[in-house]
């Protein structure tokens, strides 16, 4: 049978980062083909290549027998490729029928809108996806799964032959999941090819015919789902050995610095967290994107205050409602989004480094430039920040050096607890191991470190203990020597209880 879509040896780099290093993939008519991989394995980039959002540097795409170097989004749509994203891209202020009409009908800007026709079309498509949604409802009023159904209706209506679903169940309830599965099976029965991306192994077993596993931007194999066990799938995803490149731990951890008791925050979906971090200890925090790790960090830093449970720091129960308060209690947070939250790119690195210690460094609020420059020089030397001087704007530094500036800012506060969120994301290999050494040295000096990371080897290599989060809570605390399979299994919630 002629495949609907065939990708061969697709390569794509962003600057020095090689996101796809030769991915091959094919999709048959009437097939649900799952794409599986860790965070950052290249799934999103691959989807963007298929939908025409990115053009590949190398390799060929064959859509319905037609070979192409690359696609544009509109060309992809003409070829019958539709993508349903996790976050539906509908116009919130327009009605469902208007959204569907806009998506499906190509008319000139001044053509008269045929409301009745539009409405009838919408009604028909919504019925086909089994959605009980009024075509006149404003999209703003719809829930996330309802919006996804509207997206699927659009895909149906456009006569798409290739439908890509990016974690479609992430925000769905059980009942809605079943509904969605039914729609996917209908699509398959009608000869549509579905590319299905999900972290939930049980869904892949329930829905998919074949699975392709991506790891570090490469496809490591395509297998019929019925030939694989869950354990084998995890093995494929994790694959590599953890290199012994990480600085070793030394000595026993000291007293408990941070203790969380049944901590939760309903606004950010974090619940029932029990966790301890000791002085001199690095606790790695693993889990999938969206498992609630950054949300937990934001609670501990006072950005989204907790509404249940307790935060105890050095034996004292705290209520944290602002970063300022958290800082004064000795909590430091190196945020995930370095460019938005970690470093102010336009400001000199000296200003960035001293930003969290204004009250200490500048008593009486008058700036002391000498003290500021001296502090900046110390950190530039101690952390090996490569910059032409304390006056260099943050934006002129490489990612790794920006991260060191961000870490410096928090070390300047002399914290008791240091929370690092994806400390080496987007950092080149050299700077990465330097940052690892810095983190280990800080722990040796007695700092309690909570390190959130989606980089599994990093978590395994750096952590004295590993806490795994899934769906807003800590599901496992594993010893530092745990292997990748255990961590992945806990992150994926491979208990089998929630299988649809």
């Amino acid at each position: 049978m002629k495949p609907l879509l065939q990708l061969s040896d697709i390569r794509k780099s962003f600057g020095a980062v090689r996101a796809l290093k030769g991915v091959s993939f094919d999709l048959q008519p009437g097939e649900v083909h799952a794409l599986l991989g860790e965070n950052g394995a290249g799934k999103s980039t691959l989807i963007k290549v298929i939908t025409g959002a990115h053009s590949p540097d190398d390799g060929t795409l064959t859509v319905d027998g037609e070979s192409l170097r690359s696609l544009t989004p509109s060309h992809a749509r003409e070829l019958g490729i539709a993508c349903i994203y996790q976050q539906p891209a509908l116009f919130p202020d327009l009605s469902v029928a208007e959204n569907i009409g806009l998506r499906l009908k190509k008319t000139s800007a001044f053509a008269k809108v045929k409301h009745a026709e539009q409405r009838a079309l919408a009604l028909d498509l919504l019925k086909r996806v089994g959605a009980e949604i009024s075509p006149d409802a404003e999209v703003r009023e719809l829930s996330m799964p309802e919006q996804q159904l509207v997206e699927i209706a659009c895909a149906l209506g456009s006569g798409a032959k290739i439908v890509i679903m990016d974690e479609p169940t992430a925000s769905l309830t059980q009942k809605e999941q079943h509904l969605l599965f039914g729609v996917v099976r209908d699509l398959r029965a009608n000869g549509v090819g579905v590319v299905y991306i999900s972290h939930r192994l049980e869904e892949i077993f329930a829905l998919a015919d074949r699975v392709t596993v991506l790891r570090d931007g490469e496809s490591v194999g395509t297998h019929p789902v019925k030939d694989l066990t869950e354990a084998a799938m995890i093995q494929l995803m994790v694959g590599r050995e953890v290199a012994a490149l990480y600085p070793p731990a030394e000595g026993e951890p000291g007293a408990v610095v941070l203790s969380l008791k049944n901590l939760g925050c309903s606004a950010s979906g974090v619940r029932g967290i029990d966790l301890e971090v000791r002085a001199g200890e690095i606790v790695g925090m693993a889990g999938l994107v969206g498992a609630g790790r950054t949300e937990l960090a934001r609670i501990l830093f006072g950005i989204t205050p907790a509404d249940s449970g307790q935060i105890v720091l050095n034996g004292k129960a705290l209520t944290l409602t602002s970063p300022r308060e958290a800082i004064s209690r000795g909590i430091a947070y190196v945020p995930e989004d370095r460019r938005r939250h970690g470093v102010i790119l336009e400001m000199p690195i000296a200003h960035n480094i001293t930003m969290a210690v204004h009250p200490v460094l500048f008593p009486g609020t008058l700036l002391r430039f000498k003290a500021e420059t001296a502090m900046a020089r110390d950190f530039i030397r101690d952390l090996g920040i490569k910059a032409y001087g304390p006056d260099a704007p943050g934006g002129s530094l490489s990612g790794g050096n920006q991260q060191k500036v961000s870490v410096s800012r928090w070390l300047a506060t002399k914290p008791k607890l240091l929370i690092l969120d994806e400390p080496t994301q987007g950092v080149d290999v050299g700077a990465k191991s330097e940052i690892h050494k810095i983190i280990r040295n800080l722990a040796k000096e007695g700092l309690a470190v909570l390190m959130i990371s989606s980089d599994l080897p990093e978590v395994l290599g750096m952590s004295d203990r590993i806490a795994v989060m899934r769906e807003g809570t800590v599901t496992a605390v594993l010893p530092g020597g745990a292997d990748a399979h255990q961590v992945m299994a806990a992150a994926l919630g491979q208990s089998g209880k929630e299988v649809a």
């Binding site: 830093f301 950005i303 602002s322 970063p323 300022r324 958290a326 800082i327 947070y333 945020p335 938005r340 939250h341 970690g342 470093v343 102010i344 790119l345 336009e346 400001m347 200003h351 930003m355 969290a356 204004h358 009250p359 500048f362 609020t365 008058l366 700036l367 704007p393 934006g395 002129s396 800012r409």
Partner: protein, 355 residues
């Protein structure tokens, strides 16, 4: 190094390289400095008016340039921290109207001493600024919309208090001296202006709060993550702007000898013009009080010069009738030109280093 608008990382670094690799400052790199452009503009203005009119640079007129524009200078100073945070305050001109009217009522109808009335007027300005601060910093509403609202609200209150037409005068000479006398050969109100300028300079360039204004302007979220009390400091910028508008109102009444609801109409726009002309980025973050002072000077000299050439003729046509329109038009042109020169020079400098 101050830049007049937000540059991406790459642009900043190429610019930086351009500046660092240039062996000696070329004309283009000199033009890339906003302050230099402004100084040239001011010099050209002075040359033009000196050649058109007589005694433009004599002592009395130089005094007048400042005496007649000091309120705009005060508003420009007040506006600088606000714009540094990435905000804007359109209500300061209307605030002057409200404070002027209140001052008039306090002195004329409540028989207060001018000093007490002036303090109360500044207090009312502070309260009005506090309303802006509450809406912008506490409730996170957009500054443009909030101050557009209070722009109408404050002026409307002033008009309601005077029933649209009433004005207050008959203030004691000791008070009027504030607007019309000299101290050590310099107009009395200029001393107040210089004090305020010094204060704002300290605030912006020498205190942690000034640093936090910039951080908020560049990245409010980034500032919050660094533990900066974003709401409090943002609010303070607007409260301060209100207080200074109150002070400017008192000085205006002292100069004119009259308090009316229309005091300070349009001043907010001239103040914003001066600040932006001075190189402060309207997106927030970068800018300086020195730049604001130069921007104010450029606006003040232009307005004074134009008001003087009304008595003369240009191209054999009497131009007195068009002087007012000319003033607005030229202020606008000046702003646009001054804004265009710096990016143009930078683009040229960047292109040269590439080839």
């Amino acid at each position: 190094m101050s830049t007049c608008c937000r540059y991406g990382v790459d642009e900043t670094s190429t610019l930086l390289n351009a500046v660092m690799t240039a062996a000696k400052p070329s004309l283009k790199s000199l033009l890339a400095r906003h302050e230099v452009v402004l100084l040239i503009v001011i010099a050209l203005e002075i040359l033009l008016f000196q050649s058109l009119g007589r005694r433009f640079l004599d002592g009395t007129n130089v005094s007048n340039i400042f005496r007649h524009s000091v309120e705009i200078g005060l508003l420009a100073l007040a506006m600088t921290p606000v714009i540094l945070t990435g905000g804007i305050d359109l209500s300061v001109g209307s605030m002057m109207g409200l404070c002027a009217v209140c001052f008039g009522i306090f002195v004329n109808e409540a028989a207060m001493s001018p000093l007490l009335a002036a303090l109360l007027a500044v207090g009312i300005g502070t309260l009005g600024g506090g309303l802006n601060a509450l809406l912008i910093a506490r409730f996170q509403l957009p500054p443009l919309i909030v101050t557009l609202g209070t722009f109408s609200l404050f002026r409307g209150l002033a008009e309601a208090l005077t029933k649209g037409s009433k004005s207050y005068s008959g203030f004691p000479d000791s008070f009027l001296a504030l607007g019309n006398s000299d101290i050590a050969g310099v107009p009395a109100q200029i001393w107040i202006f210089l004090l305020v300028a010094l204060g704002i300079w300290l605030l912006v360039h020498r205190m942690t709060i000034g640093r936090s204004f910039r951080a908020i302007g560049y990245s409010p979220e980034g500032a919050r993550y660094a533990g900066i009390p974003v709401r409090r400091n943002l609010g303070l910028a607007y409260i301060l702007a209100g207080a200074i508008a109150g002070l400017a109102a008192v000085i205006l009444v002292a100069r004119l000898g009259e308090a009316r609801a229309n005091a300070g109409i349009g001043y907010e726009l001239l103040a914003i013009t001066a600040v932006v002309l001075g190189g402060t980025s309207i997106f927030g973050g970068s800018g300086s009080v020195g730049g604001t002072l130069l921007g104010y000077l450029a606006v003040a000299v232009l307005n004074n010069g134009l008001s003087r050439i009304t008595a003369y003729q240009l191209f054999d046509q009497p131009i007195s009738s068009v002087a007012r329109e000319l003033s607005g038009m030229l202020t606008g042109l000046l702003l646009l030109l001054a804004l265009a020169v710096t990016p143009l020079a930078k683009a040229l400098a960047a292109r040269r280093t590439k080839t």
